[in-house]
Structures are given as C-alpha cells and as structure tokens.
Symmetry: C2
Subunit: 149 residues, 2 copies
DNA sequence: CTGCAATTGAAAATGGTTATCAAAATCATC
DNA sequence: GATGATTTTGATAACCATTTTCAATTGCAG
C-alpha cells in the first residue's frame, strides 16, 4: 500500500466513508500518472485497464481526493478543471504553455512575500492565491502555428 | 460621444463591421457600470432600460469589445467569465473576496519583474499572466458565515 | 450473516456559453 | 432617399463540462 492509498484509507475512516475498489483504483491511476489530469483524461486512463468504473465516479472521487488533501484542483484558462496529485508539499504556481498545454511548476518565495505585502496594504486577508504565466515553453518557441488555448 | 464609443466606432470601421444600436447601448451600460460584470449581469442591467436586446447579443458584443481592447475577459475561480472595462491602462491583478465577491485591483511592478525572472529561468516566453489573491476583504473579515465562492 | 447506510453507474439534468437561422438592420453605392 | 449585398440580431437549440438522480450494488458494524 503506497503512502497515498494509506492516506486515503485514514481519511475515509475518519469521515465515516467507505473504502471501495473504485476509489483505490482511481487514486492509483491518478498518482501513477504523475501529472495534471482532467476528469476525462483520468477516466480514459482508467478505462484502459478497468471498464467497470463510471464517469461520474471519477468526478466524485476527484472531489473527494481534493477534500482529503490528496489532489489539488486547478482551473486554467481553457475552462477545464484539472487535478494534480500533491500529497502535502508547499504551494507552487504554474507556467502554462498555450501551444502544447505543458505545465511547469515553480515556487518563488519572494513573490509570495510581495503578495502578502499587497494584501496587507489593502487590509485583505488572503486565503489562497493563484499565479499563472501563460506563454510558450522552450520547445514551442521555435515551432509555428496556432496556439491551443 | 464618450471616448469608449468613439473607440468602438473606429474599431468597427477599421474591421469592416457595422455600428448598431445594440453595440452602442451595451458598451454604454458596460462602461457606466464601472465594475466587473458577467454577461448575465450586464444583460440584466440593460434589460432595465431596453428589453429589445437579446442575451446572445450581449455575449457576442462582450467578445467583440474584448477584441477591440475595450474590455478584458477575466475568469476567476467560480467559473463565470467576467468582463471589465479597461480602455488601455496597464496590466493589473486582483484581490477577490470569497465572501462578498468584491474585486480590488492592484499593480505591483516588483512582482511582474520576478515573474519575468522565473520565466526566463525556465526558458519560457510569457504572453500573459494572471495573479489572483482570494480571501476576505476588510468588511468581510468581521462578519460570520459561509463564503460565496 | 444481516441490515442499512454509503456508493456506484447510467442516464438525465444543469448552467454558462456558443451556434443556428430566418428576419431585420446597416451602409456603400446609385 | 432607394437598392441590395452583407452583417447583425434575437429566439432558440445545441454544446459540453460537470453535477444530480435514482435504483441497484456494495461495504462494514453489529
């Protein structure tokens, strides 16, 4: 049992929820993918090895994982919600390639500090934040053509 | 004729598009509102004084205004697209109250610089960016209850 | 085991946004 | 002004990601 599966069990037990084959399977595929996935992408991945899991269950389980702190919900400019596995590491932001969809993560302490300073100046109490830089990744800068997003 | 109406005329003429009562009216109400509006909010505002303008036209016109540089499209975490009138001022970011929906704008040169530095380090060519701080505005910090977003 | 609450899957519903299309409006040209 | 090609409009249907519904199934405490 990986750390993630363990963490899910603990969460489910604590909430009086049930452990199911579907939930374990979805988490497993999700963690293995190791990248940002939309509900549909995950559904299709799971379908490859298990056709007995429904679309709605994938959506429901992703929400559940987000609640358990095992997944983070990200909504970028294309309007599709994506989830990323992120057990409990620190906050990070994203560089998003508008051509190939590639997502690069980064952390920057200085920017975070400046954000808090801005909030303070406006007497605003920050709960979460979101910083996204849209543009072309290295590989796409040399290519020609339309952007994807 | 305000500056915005003038600007729209010039844009329409330049693109071989037509000037219509609806477009002028929508722009006028939009600019007068002086705040971030969703298509639906704008539609309802317009309906108060002119019931002959359709829903679809409001959507189409907002897209048009965005193309003309008269409106900026913003998509926050609630999934609803909002537009803000912004003739040609510089880029700015947002503080968004998760309780009352209030939106405060801010600019911060230092953060922008750091963003470019991060991008450079990742050999990423930035096209646009988005920085949003979600939390409680001053007025909402003292209130109790559920958040709206 | 048993029983009941939680969960599932398939399908329908939802909600914001966009496409369709016939009718109406715009505008360059006469 | 009138004409006519082209654009725009409004009502409605379609779209599409996501959520809800609900009967059937499953997990698990007792």
């Amino acid at each position: 049992m990986h750390k993630a599966t363990e963490q899910l069990s603990v969460y489910l037990a604590g909430q009086g929820l049930k452990s199911t084959r579907q939930r374990d399977r979805i988490l497993d595929v999700f963690v293995s993918a190791g990248r940002h996935l939309s509900a549909e992408e995950l559904y299709l991945l799971i379908r490859k090895t298990d056709r007995r899991i429904g679309y709605a269950t994938v959506y429901r389980t992703l929400k559940l994982l987000a609640g358990a702190g095992l997944a983070h919900e990200r909504r970028f400019e294309d309007g599709i919600t994506r989830f990323e596995y992120d057990a409990a590491e620190g906050h990070h932001d994203h560089l998003i390639c508008t051509r190939c969809g590639r997502i690069i993560e980064f952390e920057n302490e200085q920017i975070e500090d400046l954000q808090l300073r801005v909030a303070k100046k406006n007497r605003f109490q920050v709960q979460t934040h979101k910083l996204e830089l849209y543009g072309l990744c290295e590989g796409c800068q040399s290519k020609k053509g339309k952007t994807e997003l």
